[in-house]
Point group: C2
């Protein structure tokens, strides 16, 4: 049905007779001449029809051709009078002498253009038409390339791609499971995996040594703007490794992807302690494309009679380069931001470290120039910089300062989507206290190994135990996370105990894993990358939805096929529901 696709003809093909098939993208009818742009996944080629060389039958069919008709044409490649530098095929056009409608089309509910006139809901309903638009076609092709390059790298490192089951066992740990009623075992249920965690560990017990899988995972959570009930992970596990091996291997994967997809060298990926990134950036997902580290000035500013500071748990400052000339209005905008309910600060203090060497602040009443100079020094601030200060509860202030830092990064265009700054964050806390259930929760998951030196603290002070866990963060986005796993049965039982499992609960849920630990389990560790998010990151975008061919909306619905939906009562009866 075609000799070429719609993106490949060039000047060298002039005089060639060709057959193309595709969609009528744009149509310009100038009376005696008709141009139709024919489109497929590979590109766009201009067709030209004139009665003289097309013949009247073909010319009339071209006249009646509508947008999005599927057409097949025969013609001859010829030089274009005015070439179009925006198109790869812009030097040529096809003189058409035969056209066939392979299928007609009604007028689509929105335009198939890079910038469409269709609203979100309409485009979700007609997702198959939205997917015709070039930006979405590009996203899906980028996703394909990322999948293939991921496999190329991991295969080159001797990893085996192994499928783990989708119908597994429900466990009350972690997020809520989707469940699947069993007809053959009435009253019993499978669950869909939130991750293949235990299976990949069992594959290490089996001696497969290096495993990976691009795998669908499922979480029945109330969906925030950018969550999906089903999502894809690059899931990996290795045996006979320590943390350094894992970071090197998967840093290598990410570097390979950046090099081969975006032609960017990531360089060595720095490693930072969890405690340090919280201290410096107020988050375990720091955006390192810019500085503005936090400076704790609590001890400098308290006890000088300024009640707001004296009553605060913590006082934090950041230095903004070259912004001492900020106007009243600009400062007010920032102040309004930190006072919004989501941020929740009571106010903003600033110090202008002016270009002329003078220092001016919003708290001059309380602090002498020498006092302010101490703050300036603590911030390594230079003339013409601006220092912003927040005070209050420790937790809220750290979080507010983190938001303020990102805001200032945005205002100063320091968050360029084409620059990528990765960092490994390591040594997370193993557990965190959960006020609601009055017990410790695993920060990563219950199979994460504590740092060896901290194991003794499991009894006395679990919150101080560091996990041998690591996250890969790029530009403030968590791209992947993992850990060295426990491979000793006694230690695993101890951690379950710390997490408040009774022995019976532990065996009921994870007995197969504890059993497996009896029979020669090697030291192992792994990682999982959020693949949807990785795709968005590579495209410099934030929403994952348009990197998934058929996503669900925020109510977990596919409005195109209209699911979930009611089912036959017979079917429910068969399932005993």
């Amino acid at each position: 049905m075609r000799t070429h696709n719609c993106g490949e003809l060039r000047k060298k093909d002039i005089k060639t007779k060709v057959i193309l098939s595709g969609w009528a993208h744009r149509i310009r009818d100038k009376g005696k001449v008709i141009w139709i742009d024919i489109r497929d996944r590979y590109g766009i080629t201009q067709l030209i029809f004139e009665e003289e060389f097309s013949g009247s039958k073909t010319f009339n069919l071209a006249k009646k051709c509508g947008r999005e008709f599927v057409i097949k044409i025969e013609g001859e490649v010829s030089e274009r009078l005015s070439n179009n530098p925006n198109l790869d095929t812009g030097d040529i056009e096809i003189k058409v002498f035969n056209i066939e409608y392979l299928n007609k089309s009604e007028v689509p509910p929105f335009t198939i253009e890079d910038e469409t006139d269709g609203g979100e809901d309409l485009r979700m309903k007609y997702r198959y038409l939205d997917l015709r638009r070039a930006p979405l076609q590009k996203n899906i092709m980028l996703r394909h390339s990322l999948m293939q390059e991921t496999r190329i790298y991991l295969n080159s490192q001797n990893f085996l791609e192994i499928e783990t089951p989708v119908l597994i066992k429900s466990t009350p740990e972690g997020a809520r499971d989707f469940i699947v009623p069993s007809r053959m075992n009435k009253g019993q249920f499978y669950a869909l995996p939130q991750s293949p965690q235990t299976f990949k560990q069992l594959l290490m017990v089996s001696g497969f040594d290096k495993y990976y899988q691009l795998v669908k995972c499922f979480r029945d959570e109330d969906l925030r703007a950018d969550r999906q009930p089903e999502f894809t992970q690059i899931d990996c596990e290795m045996s006979f490794v320590d943390r350094e091996n894992v970071l090197q291997n998967f840093g290598g994967l990410i570097s390979h992807l950046f090099k081969n997809i975006l032609d960017k060298d990531l360089g060595d990926i720095p490693v930072m302690q969890y405690d340090d990134v919280i201290k410096h950036y107020g988050t375990d997902k720091p955006d390192l494309r810019f500085g503005m580290r936090f400076n704790d000035i609590t001890s400098i500013v308290q006890g000088k009679g300024f009640k707001v500071f004296d009553d605060s748990e913590i006082i934090l400052s950041i230095n903004i380069e070259g912004c001492s000339n900020y106007t009243r209005k600009q400062i007010d905008e920032i102040t309004d931001f930190v006072k919004t309910p989501q941020i929740g600060s009571k106010g903003l203090v600033y110090i202008k470290n002016n270009e002329d060497g003078t220092i001016k602040s919003s708290v001059d009443k309380f602090y002498s120039t020498d006092d302010l100079k101490m703050i300036v020094d603590e911030n390594n601030s230079n003339p013409s910089d601006l220092i912003l200060i927040l005070a209050g509860d420790e937790k809220q202030t750290i979080s507010a300062m983190s938001s303020l830092r990102l805001l200032m990064g945005d205002r100063l265009n320091l968050r360029d989507p084409e620059i990528f700054n990765p960092v490994w964050v390591i040594n997370f806390p193993l557990v965190a206290w959960d006020e609601e259930s009055k017990r410790y929760h695993a920060m990563h998951h219950p199979f994460t190994s504590p740092i060896k030196d901290d194991i003794d603290l499991l009894n006395s002070n679990p919150e101080k135990v560091r996990a041998n866990a690591y996250d890969l963060v790029i530009n403030g986005v968590e791209i992947g996370g993992g850990s060295i796993r426990i491979h000793d049965r006694k230690l695993q039982e101890k951690v379950f105990e710390t997490l408040g499992f009774t022995n019976e609960e532990a065996y009921n849920q994870f007995g197969f894993l504890l059993d497996a630990f009896k029979y020669g389990t090697p030291p192992h560790g792994g990682i999982a990358f959020g693949f949807d998010r990785l795709c968005a990151l590579f495209s410099g975008q934030e929403s994952i939805r348009d990197f998934i061919a058929f996503p669900k909306n925020t109510s977990g619905r596919d409005v195109m096929i209209n699911t979930p939906s009611e089912i036959d009562s017979d079917q429910l009866k068969e399932l005993g529901l």
Copy 2:
């Protein structure tokens, strides 16, 4: 933790200091010398311990080492006195001077050997140990290689790997769906896909042109011996193609796999009509590694006074080369086989076309030598051949003869698992009458296009309509199947009507697809290969179970993790169940 794996050291490495990690596979303690075979996924290496070079601490640890202990050793590669030609590493051994137990092991419930002493149930419960055995390791690695080579080929042909959703909509067509209750939309359900059929067609509507996916599919069926509730397909679809394009593309895929995995040239894959394979082999899945085509001798043998034949709907014969010397006992064995309840024939008639030119049959009473010669001629039988004849109902006799043919193929060793004879079977019937529901069922699925010339028969004689469908059969196993799809809305509605759908039912279930056909759907077609079965075929085996890392048993249970299982009543309540 290792400088090399356990499969890579060779003569050239002699004198090298190495670190290996792996499992203690076999241990031979000869008092002053201890040998341990250390095993990992990559191979086995022999370790040697003597107090002299190992030191007493290491030597004593080696003495206490048990099977399946995970060990890490340091030592020096040295030449082996008597080399082992069965091992890639058989020229060397490691003189060990340091051993560390990375983990101990209890005695496994069965031996980790190619031929194990463990029964099926025990091995399923301890699947992670069964997977340590070399045959299963090889299967999973073969599966990995087949996955990668499949992608290499399809990527080279410009196919895009695109994920389709797992949480989709239940449809009453076809096999039974697994369903997933929706918490956010109470009383409503998702279904797990039996195949991504409609989604891949929508991807063609979107213009992705060439799609593939190695994808999990699900069927809630009563499991026969070799069925799994979740299985993997190589799922593909292409636009702007006819049947010839599809057969060429995917014949190319299969040829690529055979060449790159088994180093076998498949050659051109023959194409046979459905009607012809039924006529010649009595099945749409013919094993073409050997001949023995059916010959219908009904018209030759009836009316000669042999009541058994005269009362039969059909009389079929096959010619077995070189078997005229079969003994009474051998003939009796075959006769017993065709009389078993599964086959259901009343008896077997034979004609011995003896080497000396004489002809001897079990029905000499009823047929003259000339009569028998006609049968011999019809069968192109040569002296020293044996002709076997079955008679009875048409359907039963065809089926029985097909089984008899396979039996004779087995007896004569004509079904060599290392020989592969593929065939495309085309032009299946579009529909078949279902007595139970009193309506036509789609033989393939409702989206399959009829052969153009037969469309008019949809009204008058639907059973005579041929589908533009094709199956790839290798050695009597259906490896893949597909069709050119309907891309015209009116024709799709007509086929739904033929299948007994009301207009409302059709729109309720497949409205999104019928809608999509309004907006410029290209001609398209595709195929899906059963990936688990393909893996088994490549290994010359029949059961798929050992090509799946964690399969379910015939009750749909994973006995290792013990699922399906009961779940919390809270969780059920949340789901409104």
